[in-house]
Symmetry: C2
Subunit: 120 residues, 2 copies
Amino acid sequence: MAQSPKILNAHPYLRQTLELVSDKWVTAIIYVLSQGTKRYGELHREIGEVSQRMLTRTLRDLERDGLVRREVYSTNPPTVEYSLTSLGETLVEPLRLLCQWSIEHFQEVETARKSKDNHR
Amino acid sequence: MAQSPKILNAHPYLRQTLELVSDKWVTAIIYVLSQGTKRYGELHREIGEVSQRMLTRTLRDLERDGLVRREVYSTNPPTVEYSLTSLGETLVEPLRLLCQWSIEHFQEVETARKSKDNHR
DNA sequence: CCGGATCCTATCTGATACTG
DNA sequence: CAGTATCAGATAGGATCCGG
């Protein structure tokens, strides 16, 4: 009764990691920042569809998680630069592997979807 | 005006892949199924906290995406077995890399969170 | 045993307007 | 330029009941 496998519990951080990575904007931000330091406005333009609210909120989360560094320069108008921390850099490689999978295999997913949809 | 980098658009499948993978239960199911064929009830017990509704819904999605195979045996009571397709198997490795990251680095995320929380 | 259908709530997210 | 505040709509997820 007290015994149940619950495999994911063997990797207590995995679900938390997947939740972190699975955020709608996290990967977009990490990808853009993997190319170098960016100002707030640059991030906004390069990601494109994101709202100010969500961009700011996600950046704050990433900063809190130690993945992104935020530096404010008291110029006028203000300048704020964002960059990956060394911890943030370690996430780039795993993400690129998922990216690789998406290039190699996602078309098969699309094909499967269409095929199934035609059978209804 | 018509020009904006939008880096993620260079990998049109990446966001879709991340959305697929980021589903709350998808990775749990793939992990359990990576150990072999399971019946519905086994999946339910091993994942544990998932509701019937969500387990069924997620399995249907994964079937539609061609990642999971569903086989029904007209016994009484009915038997339904789930397993990974070969396409589904290809996702196990990328997921294990994220798992690896979580083991190696997630504690740093926790530390960062605590450190930041103390400073407020 | 497997899972469809319905109802309901919490959360997430965008739109909009305003500020140092 | 780089945000904050507020509001409202969409959506995800759980609980529950019912059926083959």
